[in-house]
Subunit: 888 residues, 2 copies
């Protein structure tokens, strides 16, 4: 039997989102539950994959199945495609496995042509409505399917409205619309060199292809990259009988959530517009009514909708985001899906659903997108300051958080200025999908138009980014790059601040304070800790970061980069002296100056960590990073070192490397200058001894970076052990410490069995490992990665999301080989990937002991680790002895 | 039973060189054949390994075994260690599995002390001899075992000779020597803060430890690195009863070869000195007699020696290098080994041994060190020029070949100047093992003293480097850095030329001509071709190199680097225009200029290769390598391109990369600028079509560099295929071409199964693969590799000899995965490792189809490939269809 590519809603399997997409699966479910769903069919994601496999061609067998399904739906609704009496019209919508709101294409009213429009007019006895549908269809088909710019059509409407002296589209008469249609068709003909297609079947196949193509439009690619959605999934297409919200004042359309997507509060939440089609609500051009208002105008429909919403939430065990249309007083459900929500709402809803007995704790944890937590961890404005400052205006609190930056007037401008190190707020009349990269780059988004479900609001919430929407006070001039709010004028040089939780706008730069893990958030985190098997450590180089991470639940430090301490102003001179030393003796003099500083750094960190394990990485970067470049700095250093400027210049130029990333760094430094490792060991051990006097028992873990051959590690280990023994003999104290290595060089992974002979632990340095495995440096990859995304060579940034195929294979090889030699070897990851949920899942499955990430990512990692263990529980439960439990 | 570490010669297994070392094994054999070998014992290589494993400690059990063996030998010779009447003296010599002449330590006359020296004097009735032995022993023990500088002792001898008005050591009387001994002992005491050890057992254990330590002296480490000898092997120690060549005029010592090590001629060849110990011959201080001369002075001994030499050659089936001593008219054999020989001699001896029916062709091939062939391939002076120029002096033709360079006066100076790009001739009074690196760096070696078996001669022959030795005309002043030859004066700025085959010295720079593969050399090569399974291709970027490689037997081009063509003066401007283009159109204009040039490059190469396969790698290096840096060049280019200088400067600075090795290069260029790949494809295909009109049928192999993900290859492949199809359609000719990739990025190796979906062949680019796998760049590794060698972290340069453990593992992974997808995938290597014999053996065993190396390495590779197949024959014989056979 050959594969089936097209299913009626009533045939499809509502649990198979992979095949039918989220929208198709939910339409199937609703249909099966007897809800008022306009009939239709779904073209599967496999048809999309086939379309691309066949070289962007819609196979005949698929076309046949489409027309076959179409015929069956025609029979169900008793209408005919292109019919002059009772024409059948459909909507064509994308629907991928994961919800990608606004990313792909939709075409409404398909099936209209010069003949069937008359049928529609006669049948509905509403010519104005029929011609309105037709002109909308021509416009949408031309734009979405054929790429004729939307603006050309809008211009014509605007001209006509001016001519007629009306303000709203709804004020145009049927005759006006007929004139408009004639003009639209000639725009189409001029652009496409052919007439607007009159055959509805041609319209349909073209529309289906357009939806498939839209799977790979640039904004969909960016969205997938940001949301870890594989390009190989493809989208389904849903072809559904049209129902009309624009059939007059007893018709309407709207969207609603079963709970407040902003706060999580349990109440029906939504908006609708009468005499409108869906696009009017989403685009945010007219300001819609609250869903509650419907109870006053049509209580029966309202009650029916409330009942359906309730059922949908109970059946799907999650907050629902629903689209509906009222056609001449009759309710139709167009789609439902688990609703996007703010982090705060996600947490509250998860807790509430557990308390309501609807789901288990584990299910609750799985409902929260770990990356979203970021929003809860980011700074808020200091309430005490807000007391004394008045906001200059306000809009809708569309996405919570606080943001502050200079005004940017376009997405491109925002991207550009952020690249140059500025922080900006993107200020727009309204946003559209093309703006997505600029929205991502900006600190926050402010729009003049649109509601809580406008594009700006939905996207910002998804990104966890602050957004204030629909502020009518804004007067934006993109050309002159000026923004007026009331009497105040802002240019690209002026700061504004936004509070996404209140909707308030402040005409100045405001300081922020950090978030805390309390309430529902703390409850979720405690559930996550119960469920996970991976430890979560942090990357921290200062006592401040370490303390911050502890408040976020860090169980230790997985990476303390000693070189970051070297850059501090009070020690850089000593560091430089050390580097330009010509003899071991000179170098030791400089190192002696650094020793007390490093010791006190470590002591501070040990104290902040209160006995949790601390992994300290020895000096890693190429030395030239520390030396001065500017003539005056060189002169100063020469003075301090009492050597001729020329000598110093020569030494510095000698440090130059062709490829510093692959140069004299990491353990190579400790091999050529063992005295550096001696000093660092002394600082680590002496600080630990000092901490032990304060009752803090530290077991320092010394990590040797950039090892590629076990002999390198053996050499440096000897230096460390000899020094540590010497220090302990001097202090007459024995303490336990461990020596391990970063696995960040491919060769280390490939020879991990040898390396484990000497290393007590491995920590995967996936930043460098990614660079070396791919053979490109992070600093330079920008020159071509953009082109790689465009051409779908890469779907995601390998520095943000671990490449599990290549780099991951090396990690697995290293784990296998390392365990062969040392079955109880401690394994962690300390690259920036350590805070990426998909990488954390990989680490869990690969059997690592811990992940380590930046302090602000610790809660994300705790949740992601819990999710990984819920989905794929470790056979051997986590040995609690290896988990840090605070004693006080 | 515990391990046995010490064996008498008569107990040891003469076939186990791994355990007893070469010297020990041969002594055991000679003993078993009843040859006159002074008795003794061998301390095994395992004792050496144990010594290092135990932390450089000689274990008690080993010491016990040594004394036990000593006692048994004492009984055999009926002498006693340290005895005042009949003292037993021994020599202590290193002896590794592979011969490392002069690299490690030897101590003679051990067992002498203030008491036993008298016993020796009485017993031999020759006090002068006894005291000479003692002073030599003190000197040698102090220097070799205790590290007291030799020069301190030499100074004292020189002073004494001056005082006594004598020239030769032999003119010193017994009393003189006794005075010398007293002075020597006080030098020792002053340096060591203790008396010279009088206990012979202490002397012995200290000497054994010194030999073990000498395994890791810097020159031994360098020698091993140059000769691929693993550091893990360790050395054995041979303790042998002393016999004395310095017992008067009926005593003597010498070295001899069964065939001429320079030419391979079958005749006994050697030198000896009467009244001397071995060191005197090797050091080349006195000029020795030819071995033939012995027939005139002691025919019986001569005949005995000839008979032994003959037996040894027959039994060992190879030319022998023997040391012997005559003690008061009696012959003793001290050692034999397969002799080092010049490449020319190696070839002749191998052919002769086959013709004499002594060995098979396969055995003959195994006897030739592939790297040695290099010497035969290097330029010689043009005979027609030599006719018209007179040599200014001559020495012994110690190692063949021609060399030309400026005069360097010390090894350090030679190393330094060669680093700076100079070519030098190292000119020395005599060389010593400390000079080895300088000798390696120099083009050739010229010495004033020493014979054909002097240090300079032996080492130069081993290196395949030109050497003229023992030229008495030289007057060398190291201090003023001047050399006088006759009336001519040379400074470091002056050139001399050496002919190592004639021994002639020319006082000027002489041009050279290339070598040819003829005669015995051609015969060996034809045997090699019969025996090997690997194909041998060449790396060639020009028709000239390609033609050269064909004369050396290349079966195709494995790597044609297109970028090398881009640097030519007539095209660099067009290349630069292409690079700084801002638009695709501008870039195409520049590429159009390059197209005809590239096409003619390829046509030339196809013609030179006469139908052999040609693998062309597309543009690889980062673009900034091509752009001008100098202001005047930038100005010129701006003029050509008709753009402002400032714009061009900005473009150029934009090309800067932090780590160009890991930057925008390789296939990344073809992805961002597909028009480059289009132009190169067009040139490749058009040239092939043009060649086919001349009857040359080329199957071009297009190689995409730096692929890390199959999607990169897929993208570029589409560009190549589309262009190739277009060109073939234009020209109305179909031709076969292949598309493959370099495997040079670790990720490519790890995902080779995916990549083989698109690649018809893999070529391992082991230069880059080594860089990425180790995470260090070739350009920068110099900063620490020296330190790595010193600390034995690395034994060899991973860029010269493939790291089989790490990089090799990736290669094997790639082969396995690649074959899984495409069982008949063609596999080659084109890194510089392709000419390294040990890497070739690895490639053979790993199942590659071919190796590709520089033209001058082709014969080496052919021989190494044959050896690999002889040692480990491929189960499946080479498919001859895949071997190129010239048709004309």
């Amino acid at each position: 039997m050959s594969k089936k590519y097209v299913y009626l809603f009533k045939e499809a399997d509502g649990d198979n989102k992979a095949l039918f997409g989220g929208k198709g699966a939910n339409l199937a479910k609703m249909t099966s539950w007897g809800m008022p769903v306009p009939p239709g069919f779904t073209i599967t994601t496999e048809a999309c994959t086939k379309y691309y496999d066949d070289g962007e061609v819609l196979a005949n067998e698929v076309v046949e199945e489409i027309f076959n399904a179409l015929e069956r739906v025609e029979k169900d609704v008793n209408k005919k495609f292109g019919d002059e009496k009772n024409p059948f019209l459909v909507s064509v919508r994308s629907g991928a496995r994961a919800s990608m709101p606004g990313m792909m294409d939709t075409i409404l009213n398909l099936g209209l042509n010069d003949v069937s429009v008359k049928g529609l007019a006669n049948k509905t006895d509403n010519p104005r409505f029929a011609y309105d549908c037709y002109r909308r269809f021509i416009q949408m088909f031309s734009d979405v399917v054929m790429g004729v710019p939307k603006s050309e059509f809008e211009k014509i409407i605007d001209e006509l409205k001016e001519e007629k002296g009306v303000k709203l589209d709804t004020e145009l008469t049927a005759e006006d619309l007929q004139a408009l249609i004639a003009k639209f068709k000639s725009v189409y003909k001029k652009a496409m060199k052919q007439d607007f297609p009159q055959d509805p079947k041609v319209q349909l196949t073209e529309a289906v292809k357009a939806v498939f193509r839209s799977w790979n439009n640039p904004r969909a690619i960016v969205y997938r990259r940001m949301n870890d959605i594989p390009g190989s999934w493809g989208t389904a297409v849903n072809v559904q009988s049209m129902v009309f919200g624009n059939m007059g004042e007893t018709s309407g359309t709207g969207v609603a959530f079963t709970r407040d997507p902003s706060t999580g509060e349990k109440k029906l939440y939504g908006e609708y517009l009468m005499n409108a089609q869906g696009e009017d609500v989403v685009a945010g051009i007219r300001t819609p009514n609250s869903i509650d208002h419907l109870a006053q105008t049509n209580l029966a429909v309202y009650n029916q909708f409330v009942a359906i919403a309730d059922t949908l939430e109970k059946e799907n065990k999650d907050m629902q985001d629903m689209e509906f249309t009222i056609e001449e007083g009759r309710l139709y459900m167009l789609q439902t899906r688990n609703g996007k929500r703010t982090a705060r709402a996600a947490i509250k809803i998860a807790c509430d659903l557990v308390d309501e007995g609807m789901i288990s704790k584990e299910e609750a944890l799985l409902k929260i997108e770990p990356k979203q937590l970021d929003a809860l961890l980011h700074p808020q404005f200091d309430a005490s300051i807000l007391k004394n400052i008045k906001h200059i205006s306000s809009g809708l609190p569309a996405s919570p958080g606080a943001a502050c930056g200079k005004v940017a007037f376009s997405a491109e401008e925002a991207v550009e200025r952020v690249k140059n190190g500025e922080k900006v707020i993107l200020v727009r009349l309204e946003t559209s999908p093309e703006d997505i990269e600029g929205m991502y780059a900006a600190e926050g988004i402010l729009t003049a138009r649109g509601g809580m479900t406008s594009h700006a609001a939905v996207v910002a919430r998804g990104m966890g980014e602050c957004c204030v929407a629909g502020c009518p006070d804004l007067k934006i001039n993109e050309k002159t790059k000026t923004l007026h709010i009331g009497s105040q004028k802002f240019t690209t040089e002026d700061y504004i601040s936004l509070d996404g939780s209140t909707g308030y706008i402040y005409g100045t730069a405001l300081p922020t304070i950090n978030a805390e893990v309390t309430g529902d958030f703390a409850r979720i985190m405690s559930w996550a800790d119960e469920c996970r098997a991976l430890q979560v450590r942090t990357n921290a180089d200062t006592p401040h970061d370490a303390a911050q991470a502890v408040t976020f639940g860090a169980e230790g430090i997985g990476l303390c980069r000693t070189e970051h301490m070297f850059f501090a102003e009070d020690r850089i001179t000593a560091v430089r002296e050390m580097i330009v030393s010509k003899t071991v003796e000179e170098r030791k003099v400089a190192l002696d100056k650094l020793l007390p500083m490093q010791r006190s750094d470590f002591l501070g960190i040990y104290k902040a960590m209160k006995g949790r394990p601390v992994t300290i990485r020895f000096l890693d970067p190429p030395l030239h990073e520390f030396v001065p470049n500017k003539p005056e700095e060189i002169k100063e250093l020469a003075g301090v070192m009492n050597i001729p400027v020329k000598d110093l210049e020569a030494t510095i130029s000698n440090l130059h490397e062709s490829n510093p990333m692959m140069g004299h760094r990491g353990c190579r430094l400790s091999i050529t200058y063992p005295e550096i490792a001696e000093m660092q060991t002394r600082a680590v051990i002496e600080a630990a001894i000092e901490a032990s006097k304060d009752g803090i028992n530290v077991v320092p873990e010394i990590m040797i970076p950039l090892v590629g051959d076990v002999k390198e590690l053996k050499f440096v280990k000897k230096v460390v052990v000899d020094t540590a023994e010497k220090v302990m003999a001097e202090k007459k104290i024995k303490l336990v410490y461990h020596i391990g290595t970063m696995i960040e060089i491919p060769r280390a992974a490939l020879t991990a069995d040898d390396i484990a002979q000497e290393a007590e632990f491995f920590s995967f340095g996936t930043n460098d490992l990614t660079q070396m495995t791919y053979g490109f440096s992070r600093d330079d990859a920008g020159k071509f990665l953009g082109c790689y995304y465009e051409n779908k060579i890469f779907e995601s940034d390998p520095f943000a999301k671990l490449d599990q195929v290549g780099v991951g294979k090396l990690v697995k090889i290293a784990i296998d080989l390392g365990k062969k030699t040392r079955p109880d070897i401690k394994l962690g990851i300390c690259g920036e990937h350590g805070g990426d949920p998909s990488t954390i899942e990989f680490c869990h499955n690969a059997g690592l002991s811990y992940v380590s990430c930046s302090p602000f990512r610790v809660p994300i990692a705790r949740l992601a680790a819990a999710q990984a263990n819920i989905l794929n529980p470790r056979k051997k439960p986590l040995d609690m002895a290896t988990r840090y439990v605070e004693e006080d």
